[in-house]
Amino acid sequence: MNVIELKNVSYKYSAGTPFEHTAVDNVSLEIKKGEFCGIIGHTGSGKSTLIQHFNGLIKPTSGEVLVEGKNIWSKEVNIKDIRFKVGLVFQYSEHQLFEETVYKDIAYGPKNMGLDKDEIDKRVRQAAEDMGIREELLERSPFDLSGGQKRRVALAGVMAMKPEILILDEPAAGLDPVGREKVLTKIKEYHEKYGTTILLVSHSMEDIVKYSKTVLVMNKGKVFCHDDTDNVFSRQEEILGIGLDVPQITKIVIKLRELGIDLGNDIYTIDRAKERILNYLR
């Protein structure tokens, strides 16, 4: 089942003025329920504009956005319900923390959903646990926490609303290697536990290949490809051609191919590279 579907969606900034700019150009795509999809594309490719369509933050200039089969801009749909159903976490989400305590910050979303106190309490504690935030931190000020902890508190605040679909814009940007891995591992565990559809926007190809099952590549406002991670990264040369990066390990394999030894075009993790090399030596 498709949880999100876009039909011929275009979005123009400053439409009808001399500054008109088409950020999303006639895009049709389908996201399946329970998919863990990485979204990549260089700056200006339209990926940020695209993801803001998924929860109705912006309205397409033309085309239709369907969430769970319903056009979110039709009269019978309340757009506020869509925002609860599709959680969107922006880059540097910790900048949006504002409450006195971690607990209150995580509770802010559920409170606005009109839930009762017991349910809010249950959700806050569960979301904190899911994001690896220890109980004793709940009464602390979010501003006393480390960068990685703050980021996880901000994520927990969205998870406490139990969205069906979670869109994460660069959730690991600016963190150190341990912080990155912790945030992304928690997101992955969350996905496995609840089956929530996850859309992960990242510039880090290493992270995308490690965590996403499918990848959607944006280029010049269009979907360049949307396929299983293996199939997408087997098109390494094309990906490099549209100004994107591939993991360093893939660059090593490409270089080796230029030298005359081909280990295959599906290598983008160290483990797989090692396995191929050892097989070759056998």
């Binding site: 200006g44 080796l256 090399i277």
Partner: protein, 290 residues
């Protein structure tokens, strides 16, 4: 004692206060750091969040002053208030977020900002601004508005603003952390040009191992202390030690490490793509011949 920056037994701590404003303890961030940064070098400083690396960087141009010990910038003690302008002019600083460092609405005005404040002659300002913009390859954008530029371009404008002051050393605190891969490449190319072509000492604080691998010297900070201080090849050969302090190694190095664990005779000093591919080529073509 001829380094452009020297620290001697540098200790930095701050006080922790309770709700009533009474001091309840001290948090020591830097512990006995003694360093000698030579003029003309390209030094990377690595460490996980909270290791003290940014605190250390802020001592290099007197933003923070040592609790104990000394910091000398071109021989000037950083606690000498009367010389703070000389210190800031010798060592410039670039921060993580380009948006927080840009003040003007036109690129060239932004680059001229510090010079105007220093009372430099208008003609000289024009000359230096043009020169700085050319060095960072942003001269064509001199009349653009900064908000229309990409993150990498904005960060290069911030760097140009520092270069215009003609510092002998630039400290960059994670200048690429908020940029996309393209912007990151642009900044690394700029850093190398500053260092190799213009002889400016660069101290780069970073989380990216691939960036640190391009420096001449890498200093690893952990828990406020210097854990390692050596050339990149030696630093990254310490795979286990680096991982134990929450750091990583370039994928090329990690592949060699994994191969060694599987019994392949792979070198420990490979840190970039080309060397790695060439080693693998030799390894695998030897096998074909046998």
């Amino acid at each position: 004692m001829e380094g452009i920056i020297n620290t001697e037994n540098l200790i930095f701590e701050y006080s922790i206060y309770d709700e009533n404003g009474d001091e309840t303890g001290k948090n020591r961030v830097l512990e006995n750091i003694t360093l000698d940064i030579k003029e003309g070098g390209f030094v990377a400083v690595l460490g996980h969040n909270g290791s003290g690396k940014s605190t250390l960087a802020k001592h290099f141009n007197g933003i923070l002053l040592p609790t104990e010990g000394k910091v000398l910038i071109d021989g000037i003690d950083s606690t000498d208030e009367s010389r703070i302008y000389d210190i800031r002019q010798t060592v410039g600083m670039v921060f993580q977020n380009p948006d927080n460092q840009i003040v003007a609405t036109i690129v060239e005005e932004d680059v001229a900002f510090a010079l105007e404040n220093l009372g430099v002659e208008p003609k000289e300002i024009r000359r230096r601004v043009d020169e700085a913009l050319k060095i960072v390859d942003m001269y064509h954008y001199r009349e653009h508005a900064p908000h229309q530029l990409s993150g990498g371009q904005k960060q290069r404008i911030a760097i140009a603003g520092i270069i215009a002051m003609r510092p002998r050393c630039i400290v960059m605190d994670e200048p690429t952390a908020m940029l996309d891969p393209k912007g990151r490449k642009e900044i690394m190319a700029t850093i190398k040009a500053l260092n190799k072509e213009h002889g400016i000492t660069v101290i780069l604080i970073t989380h990216y191992m691939e960036e640190a691998a391009q420096a001449d010297r890498v200093i690893v900070i952990d828990k406020g202390k210097i854990l390692l201080d050596d050339v990149p090849k030696k630093i990254f050969s310490e795979v286990e030690l680096l991982k134990s302090v929450g750091l990583d190694v370039p994928q090329a190095t990690e592949l060699m490490y994994d191969l060694r664990k599987s019994g392949v005779d792979a070198p420990s000093d490979i840190i970039d793509v080309d060397e790695c591919a060439e080693f693998l080529f030799r390894l695998l073509s030897d096998k074909e011949q046998k």
